[in-house]
C-alpha cells in the first residue's frame, strides 16, 4: 500500500505539489487527473525519486522510502514519450531492468518473451525500437516497465501521444493486464474518459492539491465543487439562484432547500417531451452516433440533453429531470 502524506514540492513561486495526500491500496489502480500544469507529472517524479519533495512523506507498506534513491525504490515509471533506448532492440529494452536486477541471461530471455506476449508483441524481440509505430512503442514501454515486476507502477499520460481510436483500445488492454497481474498502479492523465476506463479510484488534482477523491463513480456522482464537476465533463452546471434553475430542476425539488450554490445535471439524465406549452425551445440538435445531443434554451439558461429520439429545431419542449440525478455543488 502506498501512503503519501502532505507531499509538497515548490519551484520558485509555484507549489507544484501542495500538501498532497494520496493513498493507493495494494493491487488497485488509482488515476490522478487534472488539467495540464496541475502538478501531476511532478507527483510521479517525486514518487519515483527522480525529484525530492520539499516536505511530506512517501510510505510503502509501512516503510518511509522518501530518501531511497530511484534505482533502489522498485517503482516502475512509464514516461509519456516512452523514452525507449534507441541504441537497443525491443528485447534489450525490455530486459534492461532485469539485467539491472542481476537476473541471469536464461531467466531474462524467458521473462522478456513472457512480457512481450502479455503486451501482444510476441516475435518483436530483435526489432530495433526506432522502427516501431506509436502503438508498438507504447507496448514496448509498458513491457519494459512491467518486466522487473515493480511493486508500484507509475504511468505518466501513457496514451497521450496516440490517436483516439488506438488509445481507447489500448486503455482496455492495459486495464486487463494490470488486473491480471494484480499490480498497484498510479495512472496520471488529463483525460477523464481514460481515467474512468482504467481506475478503481480517482483523485482530481488542481494546482498541486487533491480537490476530490474517492471511487471513480463516487467522484463522478459527488464531485463536490463546481470546478471539479466541470473538469469531469459535466455539461449542465446551473447556478442555484438563476431564474432557469427552478424551471429546470422543479420548485418542489428537495435540493433547492439545501446550501448548494449550484447544481450539476448529467446530460443523459435529462429527458425531453414535445409540448407546445413547454418552457424550453430546442436550439440545436447534433447527431452523435447512437444518441442526439440537444441544446435547449430555457430563458437565459441553456441545458444539454443526450436523447435517443430528438425533437426538431425550434420545437417547444417540456423538460424532465429525476430529482435524484441532480448533483448539488459548492463554489
Amino acid at each position: 500500500m502506498l501512503e503519501c502524506r502532505s507531499l509538497t514540492r515548490i519551484y520558485g513561486a509555484t507549489r507544484a505539489l501542495d500538501d498532497f495526500d494520496l493513498t493507493v491500496l495494494g493491487g488497485s489502480i488509482a488515476a490522478v487527473i487534472g488539467p495540464s500544469g496541475c502538478g501531476k507529472t511532478t507527483l510521479l517524479r517525486v514518487l519515483s525519486g527522480l525529484e525530492q519533495q520539499d516536505a511530506g512523506s512517501i510510505v510503502w507498506d509501512g516503510r518511509d522510502v522518501s530518501s531511497t534513491p530511484t534505482h533502489q525504490r522498485g517503482f516502475g515509471l512509464m514516461f509519456q514519450d516512452f523514452a525507449l533506448f534507441p541504441h537497443r532492440t525491443v528485447g534489450e529494452n525490455v530486459a534492461f531492468g532485469l539485467r539491472m536486477a542481476g537476473m541471469a541471461q536464461t531467466g531474462r530471455t524467458t521473462r522478456v518473451a513472457e512480457v512481450l506476449e502479455l503486451v501482444g508483441l510476441t516475435g518483436y524481440v530483435d526489432r530495433p525500437v526506432t522502427m516501431l509505430s506509436g502503438g508498438e512503442q507504447q507496448r514496448v514501454a509498458l513491457a519494459r516497465t512491467l518486466a522487473p515486476q515493480p511493486r508500484l507502477v507509475l504511468l505518466d499520460e501513457p496514451l497521450g501521444s496516440l490517436d483516439r481510436t488506438l488509445s481507447d483500445r489500448l486503455i482496455v488492454e492495459m486495464h486487463d493486464i494490470f488486473e491480471a497481474l494484480g499490480v498497484t498502479v498510479v495512472y496520471v492523465t488529463h483525460d477523464q474518459g481514460g481515467a474512468f476506463a482504467i481506475a478503481d479510484h480517482l483523485i482530481v488534482m488542481r494546482e498541486g492539491r487533491a480537490v476530490a477523491s474517492g471511487s471513480t463513480e463516487d467522484v463522478w456522482r459527488r464531485p463536490g465543487t463546481e470546478w471539479v464537476a466541470r473538469f469531469l465533463g459535466h455539461e449542465n452546471i446551473i447556478e442555484a439562484g438563476s431564474p432557469g434553475a427552478a424551471v429546470a430542476i422543479g420548485t418542489s425539488s428537495p435540493h433547492l432547500a439545501g446550501t448548494a450554490s449550484a447544481f450539476a445535471v448529467p446530460a443523459a439524465a435529462v429527458s425531453l417531451r414535445e409540448d407546445p406549452a413547454g418552457p424550453g425551445t430546442v436550439e440545436s440538435v447534433t447527431f452523435r452516433g447512437g444518441s442526439h445531443r440537444v441544446r435547449v434554451a430555457i430563458g437565459d439558461l441553456t441545458l444539454v440533453a443526450d436523447v435517443h429520439s430528438s425533437p426538431v429545431r425550434g420545437a417547444r419542449v417540456a423538460i424532465d429531470i429525476p430529482p435524484d440525478s441532480v448533483i448539488p455543488l459548492t463554489g
Binding site: 527522480l50 534513491p69 534505482h71 534492461f96
Partner: protein
C-alpha cells in the same frame, strides 16, 4: 535535476570538473594561444626597430599578394556557388536511379588531401597533362581546382537545407501564376539564402587560406598570403614579415566571420520545415538539369581522380605497377631523404597518435561544453573553434616560432601529431558534444527507474551513444591528420616526412619517373583517406533525438 549535469550526479565535484577542464585548457593554451601570441608579438615588434606590420602594408609586392589572395578566393567562391546550386537542386528535389551513389560521390573531393587534389589537377592541366595545354602556374588551374575541392561544401550545405524546405511554397507561387523560374527566384532562392551564404563563407575562407593546391599548381608565381608566409618564413627566413602576414590573414578571416555572423543574425527566420521526399523527374527542364549535373560530377569530380590513377599506372612502355613497386627506393636529388614507403608508415603512425590526442582532448572538452552550461563553458566552446579559423600555415609557423622555449619541442617527433590534433579537435568536439547534449534526460531517468545506479546509467546509456560519435570524430581526426600539409610543412623533420610532404618533395624534382611515383603515392594517400571516411559514414548517427 536535468541530464546536463550527469557527471555531477555521478558524484563529480567541482574539483573533478576542474581537472577535466584543465587538460584541454592547458593543451590549447600551450599549443595554440601561446604560438599565436608569439606571432602577434613578432609581427608588432618587427626587426631592427621598424614595425613589420607597417612594412608589409606599404610594400607593393606584398600588397599585391593580399589583393591576389582576395580576388582569387572571391572568383573561386562565385564559381563554386554557381555550379553548386543546380547540384544541390538535383540532390534535394530529384529522384533518379543512383541518387545515393551520386550523393556519396560529391563528398569525395572534399575529404581528399589538398596535395592529392593539387597532384590530380597537375596530371590533367600540367605539363604533359591529358588536355594538352600546360596551365600550371596559372590562376585558371588554381580556380578550377578550388571549384573541384569546394563543390561538395555548397552541394551538401544547400541541399540539406533545400530538402527540408516546404515544396508547397513554390507550388503556391506557381498556382498564383509564376513561371517555374520566377517561382524559384522569388520564393525558393530567398529562402535558401542563409544556406548559400553559409556555404559561400566557408568556401571563401578555405580558398582564402588555401595552401597545398596553390603551392603545387601555382608555384611561387601565384602566391597567396598563405604561400607567402611559408616562403618568407622557410625560404627567406624573414620571420617578422611572415608574422605580419599571418596577422593580416587572421584579421581577414575574422572580418569574414564577423560579416557572416551579422548577416546570419539579420537573416535568420523561423521556417516551417517539412521532411519532404524528393519528387520525380517531371519536366523537360529537370531532365536537362539532371543530365548537366551528372556531366559536371563525372567530368569535374571524377575526371581528375581517374587521370591521377591512370598516370600513376603509366610506365615507360605502357601501363603497370612500376611506380608503386619503386616506392621502396629512395629518390636521389628530390629533397626527400627517405624511401617513399617510410612516409606511408610515418603518416599512419602520426595519424594514430593525432587521433588519440584529439579524441582525449576533444572528448574532455566536449563533456564540458555539453554537460556544463555556464558562461565559462560557452567561452570554452568558442576557444575550441578558434583553430578552425586559423590557417594551417599560421599554426605551423607559430609552432616554429614559439615552441623552442621553455621546452624545445621543435625537433620532437610529437610536434606533428600535436599540430594535427589541434586541427582535428574542433571536429571531434563538433561530432561528440551535440550527441552528448541530445541524449535526453528522460533516457537516464528511464534507466534509473528500471534500477540502474548512476554509474550503470552512464555506462548503459551515455557511453554506447557517445561511443559512436567518438568513432566518427576519430575518423575525422585520422583523415585530417593524413592529409594535413600546411602546418606539417613547417614542423616535419626531414627524416620523418608525412605522405603529403613526400608527394610535394617528389613533385619538386622534374622527371617522368619521379612524377609517376608522386602520382602513385597520391593514390595511396587517397585510398587511406577514403578508408577513414568510410568509417565516418558507417558510424554516423542519424538526426533523430535520443
Amino acid at each position: 535535476m536535468d541530464g546536463r549535469d550527469a557527471l555531477t550526479r555521478l558524484g563529480a565535484t567541482r574539483l573533478t570538473w576542474g581537472v577535466v577542464a584543465a587538460v584541454p585548457t592547458l593543451f590549447l593554451a600551450y599549443f595554440f594561444v601561446y604560438p599565436l601570441a608569439t606571432i602577434l608579438i613578432t609581427a608588432l615588434r618587427g626587426a631592427g626597430g621598424s614595425n613589420a606590420m607597417i612594412d608589409v602594408l606599404t610594400r607593393r609586392p606584398l600588397v599585391g599578394v593580399a589583393w591576389f589572395t582576395t580576388w582569387q578566393a572571391a572568383v573561386s567562391t562565385l564559381l563554386t556557388v554557381a555550379l553548386g546550386i543546380p547540384g544541390a537542386y538535383v540532390l534535394a528535389r530529384l529522384d533518379f536511379p543512383g541518387r545515393r551513389i551520386i550523393r556519396a560521390l560529391t563528398i569525395v573531393p572534399f575529404v581528399l588531401p589538398t596535395v592529392v587534389v593539387g597532384t590530380a589537377f597537375l596530371a590533367v592541366l600540367g605539363p604533359g597533362g591529358i588536355i594538352g595545354v600546360d596551365l600550371s602556374r596559372t590562376v585558371t588551374a588554381i580556380i578550377v581546382a578550388h571549384v573541384f575541392y569546394n563543390y561538395a561544401i555548397v552541394v551538401r550545405t544547400v541541399s540539406a537545407y533545400w530538402e527540408h524546405l516546404d515544396p508547397r511554397l513554390e507550388e503556391a507561387a506557381r498556382s498564383l501564376g509564376a513561371t517555374p523560374w520566377t517561382a524559384f527566384r522569388q520564393v525558393t532562392l530567398p529562402l535558401l539564402m542563409p544556406a548559400i551564404a553559409s556555404a559561400a563563407s566557408i568556401v571563401f575562407l578555405f580558398t582564402f587560406t588555401s595552401f597545398g593546391v596553390i603551392l603545387i599548381l601555382g608555384g611561387l608565381a601565384q602566391a597567396t598570403i598563405e604561400v607567402e608566409i611559408w616562403r618568407q618564413a622557410t625560404g627567406l627566413l624573414n620571420l617578422p614579415v611572415a608574422a605580419a602576414l599571418a596577422l593580416l590573414q587572421l584579421l581577414g578571416v575574422a572580418a569574414v566571420l564577423f560579416v557572416y555572423t551579422r548577416y546570419q543574425e539579420r537573416r535568420s527566420r523561423q521556417l516551417a520545415v517539412t521532411p519532404s521526399a524528393p519528387h520525380r523527374i517531371a519536366s523537360r527542364a529537370d531532365r536537362w538539369i539532371l543530365a548537366g549535373n551528372l556531366v559536371v560530377i563525372t567530368v569535374l569530380l571524377g575526371g581528375p581522380l581517374a587521370v591521377l590513377i591512370g598516370r600513376s599506372l603509366r610506365t615507360g612502355s605502357g601501363y603497370g605497377f612500376d611506380a608503386y613497386a619503386d616506392l621502396g627506393r629512395r629518390v636521389d636529388g628530390s629533397g626527400l631523404f627517405v624511401a617513399p614507403t617510410s612516409a606511408i608508415a610515418n603518416s599512419l603512425r602520426f595519424a594514430l597518435a593525432a587521433t588519440v590526442i584529439a579524441v582525449v582532448i576533444g572528448g574532455l572538452a566536449a563533456a564540458i561544453v555539453a554537460y556544463r552550461r555556464n558562461a565559462a563553458s560557452r567561452s570554452f566552446d568558442a576557444l575550441l573553434m578558434l583553430p578552425l579559423g586559423t590557417s594551417a600555415v599560421t599554426l605551423g609557423f607559430g609552432f616554429l616560432l614559439a615552441l623552442d622555449e621553455p621546452i624545445d619541442l621543435r625537433t620532437s617527433l610529437w610536434l606533428v601529431p600535436i599540430a594535427h590534433a589541434l586541427v582535428a579537435i574542433p571536429f571531434v568536439v563538433r561530432t561528440t558534444a551535440p550527441v552528448m547534449r541530445r541524449i535526453r534526460a528522460r533516457l537516464r531517468e528511464a534507466a534509473a527507474v528500471l534500477g540502474a545506479n548512476p554509474a550503470q546509467t552512464w555506462r548503459e546509456i551515455d557511453l554506447p551513444l557517445v561511443a559512436r560519435a567518438v568513432a566518427v570524430g576519430a575518423g575525422f581526426a585520422f583523415a585530417v591528420s593524413l592529409g594535413e600539409f600546411g602546418a606539417t610543412s613547417f614542423i616535419a623533420r626531414p627524416d620523418a616526412p608525412t605522405l603529403p610532404i613526400a608527394i610535394f618533395r617528389l613533385l619538386g624534382r622534374p622527371g617522368a619517373v619521379t612524377f609517376g611515383r608522386a602520382m602513385a603515392l597520391s593514390v595511396i594517400l587517397m585510398v587511406l583517406t577514403a578508408a577513414a571516411v568510410m568509417m565516418i559514414e558507417r558510424f554516423r548517427l542519424g538526426d533523430e533525438d535520443f
